[in-house]
C-alpha cells in the first residue's frame, strides 16, 4: 500500500519543500499537510489544511480521520523566526503533542520523523565540541529544551507502537528565502561578534534539510541523526564574507547587543546568542553513512547564497523596451 503522509508545518519553507519532494515519488500516495499559514509554493498533489495548532480539537480530529502511515513533523517553530519565543514554544508543544498523539491513536502509523536541532546538545564543551549522536543531550536554551521535548514525545510513541522514530538534529538552517533569526542577524549592516573568541558554527541548506527528511521517512530510520552541512564558518568570517562590519561584543554585553539588533530589524533569540558566543557544530557522519546523504552543501556555500541578492531590473527601462 502506498504511504499516506502527514506533513505538519507544511506552510513553512521546509514543510512545503518536503511536500514537493514527496509529490515526485511514485511510492507515496496521499499527502496532507497542516499549518497556520499557507504553503510558500504551489503544490500539485498535496492537500493543505489551514489549522492553527492552538485549535487542538480541530487538529486532533483531522489527524484521526486522515490516519497517516507516515508523519513528517515540521510543526516545530524556531523562536524569533516567524513569531516571538513564547508563541513559538507554545505552538511547538501543542502541535507536537496533539498531532503525534492523534497519529499514534489513528491506528495506521508506521514511521515518524521529527525536526530537531543541534541545540539539544547545548553549547560546545570540552567533552564534545563536535558532538555525535552518542553525546547525551544537555540543552541550555529554551529552543533546545523545546526540541528535546519533541524528541521525547516522538520517542515515546515509537516505544509504544514499536515503530521507527527518527529525530533529525539539523544544524541551523539558513537560506536567502528562509525566515531565520541567524540569517537576519548576519545580514544586518553591523554584525555583533564575540570580542575575544571566534568559534566555529556549521549551517545546513534548506534543500538538504528537506532531502534528509524524505530519506529518513521513506527508509524508516530509527533514532537521532545529525544533519550538518560540510565545513564551518566563524562569526567574524561570516560577517566579512557578506561585506558587513563585525562589531566586537564583550561576554556581558550580549543582551544589549541583542536589543540593538532587534531595533535594527533582527530579533535575536537566546539560541542565536549561544551560537554566536560558543559556536555550534556536530558530526554528520551518520547521516552520510546511514541515510546516504552525500553532497550536502557546505557552510561557505550557504553563507554565499545568504548574501546573494537578485539583480535589480529597472522597470522603467523594461516599459520603454515593450513600448
Amino acid at each position: 500500500m502506498a504511504a499516506r503522509v502527514l506533513v505538519t508545518g507544511m506552510g513553512g519553507e521546509l514543510g512545503t519543500g518536503v511536500a514537493q519532494l514527496l509529490e515526485s515519488r511514485a511510492d507515496v500516495g496521499e499527502i496532507h499537510g497542516v499549518d497556520f499559514v499557507p504553503p510558500r509554493r504551489r503544490l500539485r498533489r498535496a492537500e493543505f489544511h489551514r489549522i492553527d495548532p492552538r485549535r487542538r480539537e480541530r487538529l486532533r480530529d483531522f489527524v484521526l480521520e486522515y490516519a497517516p502511515t507516515h508523519v513528517a513533523h515540521f510543526g516545530v517553530y524556531e523562536p524569533a523566526s516567524r513569531m516571538d519565543p513564547v508563541a513559538a514554544a507554545e505552538r511547538t508543544e501543542l502541535c507536537s503533542a496533539t498531532a503525534l498523539s492523534a497519529a499514534s491513536r489513528a491506528g495506521a502509523l508506521e514511521a515518524v520523523v521529527v525536526r530537531s536541532g543541534l541545540e539539544v546538545y547545548g553549547p560546545p564543551r570540552s567533552r564534545a565540541s563536535v558532538p555525535d549522536e552518542q553525546v547525551p543531550p544537555s540543552p541550555r536554551v529554551p529552543y533546545g529544551m523545546s526540541l528535546l521535548r519533541v524528541e521525547t514525545i516522538a520517542a515515546s510513541i515509537g516505544r509504544r507502537l514499536e515503530i521507527p522514530v527518527a529525530a533529525l538534529r539539523y544544524a541551523p538552517i539558513v537560506g536567502s528565502h528562509v525566515p531565520s533569526p541567524l540569517g537576519r542577524l548576519l545580514r544586518l549592516p553591523l554584525v555583533p561578534v564575540p570580542a575575544f573568541s571566534d568559534p566555529p558554527f556549521s549551517l545546513l541548506h534548506p534543500d538538504d534539510a528537506c532531502r534528509a527528511m524524505v530519506q529518513a521517512l521513506l527508509v524508516g530510520f530509527d533514532g537521532p541523526v545529525n544533519v550538518v552541512g560540510l565545513g564551518a564558518a566563524s562569526p567574524w568570517q561570516a560577517a566579512r564574507l557578506g561585506g558587513r562590519i563585525p562589531v566586537p561584543v564583550a561576554p556581558f554585553a550580549w543582551t544589549g547587543a541583542a536589543r540593538a539588533a532587534e531595533l535594527l530589524g533582527a530579533a535575536v533569540a537566546p539560541h542565536v546568542i549561544e551560537l554566536m558566543r560558543c559556536g555550534r557544530t556536530g558530526s554528520g557522519a551518520r547521516a552520510v553513512s546511514e541515510l546516504g546523504l552525500g553532497e550536502l552543501r557546505s557552510t561557505q556555500e550557504i553563507l554565499a547564497e545568504l548574501y546573494e541578492w537578485a539583480e535589480i531590473v529597472p522597470l522603467s527601462g523594461l516599459r520603454q523596451a515593450v513600448a
Binding site: 563536535v130 555525535d132 560540510l230 564551518a232 564558518a233 568570517q237
Partner: protein, 228 residues
C-alpha cells in the same frame, strides 16, 4: 581533494597548501574568503605559519611509508613537557605525506583553546577524537608526558576505545641535536599495531590490551628496555 575543497576557496582541511602571499592573505582575511572546519582548524593560517615552523624545527623522519596518504589514522607518540614533540610530529607528517595533523589536547579555555584549535588541536575527549577519525583526519594522541623524555608515558585510557575505528601507529620522537639537545628531532613511525578483529569496539579489554601494546612499541622504538 576533499569534497569541501572546491567550496572553500581552494583551501583543504586535510591536505596542506602553498603559503599564500602577504597581499593575497590580507585581501582574503579582510574579505572573509577563508574557512575553518568544525573543529576550529583554519587551513589558511596553518599554511602561513607551517613553513616558519618547518624552518625552525629540523626533523628527520623514518618509516614515513607507514603513514596513510588518505583516510583516518591515529599516531600515538611519546612526549616530554611542552609543545615540541607535537610540533615536530606535525612537521614530519606535513613533509612526508602533505597532510594536516590534528593533535589531541586543546585546552578547555575559550580564548586560548580557540587559538590552539585554529592550528589543529582538538579536545582530549573520546567524542571529538571519534568525530575527527570518522571525518577521515590524521590524529596525534600524545602519551602522558615524561620528565627528561625518558620513555613512553601512560596511554590516555579514556580515548583508547574511540581509537579502535582506525589504524593505530606508534611513533617515537627523540631530540636529535648534539648531546641529545632538542635543536633537531628524529621521528620514527612504526607500522600499525594489529588489533584482533574479533574484538568488540565497546570492549574495554581490547582497549586496555591495545594500550599496553602501543606503549611497549613506543618504548621499543625509543630503545627503552621493556619488562618481559
Amino acid at each position: 581533494m576533499s569534497p569541501l575543497h572546491a567550496a572553500a576557496y581552494g583551501l583543504d582541511a586535510d591536505r596542506v597548501g602553498a603559503a599564500p602571499g602577504v597581499a593575497s592573505l590580507v585581501r582574503r582575511r579582510f574579505g572573509g574568503r577563508f574557512f575553518i572546519d568544525p573543529f576550529g582548524l583554519d587551513p589558511q593560517l596553518c599554511d602561513v605559519v607551517a613553513p616558519w615552523i618547518g624552518a625552525a624545527v629540523r626533523v628527520d623522519v623514518e618509516g614515513a611509508e607507514h603513514l596513510p596518504t588518505s583516510g583516518p589514522a591515529v599516531l600515538i607518540a611519546n612526549r616530554g613537557l611542552g609543545l615540541a614533540e607535537p610540533a615536530a610530529l606535525s612537521v614530519a607528517v606535513r613533509r612526508a605525506v602533505g597532510r594536516r595533523l590534528r593533535v589531541v589536547g586543546a585546552p578547555d579555555l575559550r580564548v586560548a583553546g580557540g587559538w590552539f584549535r585554529r592550528f589543529g588541536a582538538i579536545a582530549g575527549s573520546a567524542g571529538d577524537l571519534g568525530a575527527a577519525l570518522r571525518a577521515g583526519h590524521l590524529v596525534a594522541v600524545p602519551l602522558a608526558p615524561t620528565w627528561l623524555r625518558s620513555g613512553a608515558g601512560q596511554p590516555p585510557l579514556e580515548l583508547l576505545q574511540a581509537m579502535l575505528v582506525a589504524p593505530v601507529l606508534p611513533v617515537a620522537i627523540r631530540p636529535d641535536g648534539p648531546f641529545g639537545t632538542p635543536t633537531s628531532w628524529s621521528v620514527t613511525i612504526s607500522e600499525a599495531v594489529p588489533v584482533d578483529p574479533s574484538y568488540d569496539l565497546d570492549d574495554p579489554l581490547a582497549a586496555a590490551e591495545l594500550a599496553e601494546a602501543v606503549r611497549a612499541r613506543v618504548d621499543g622504538l625509543l630503545g627503552v628496555a621493556v619488562d618481559a
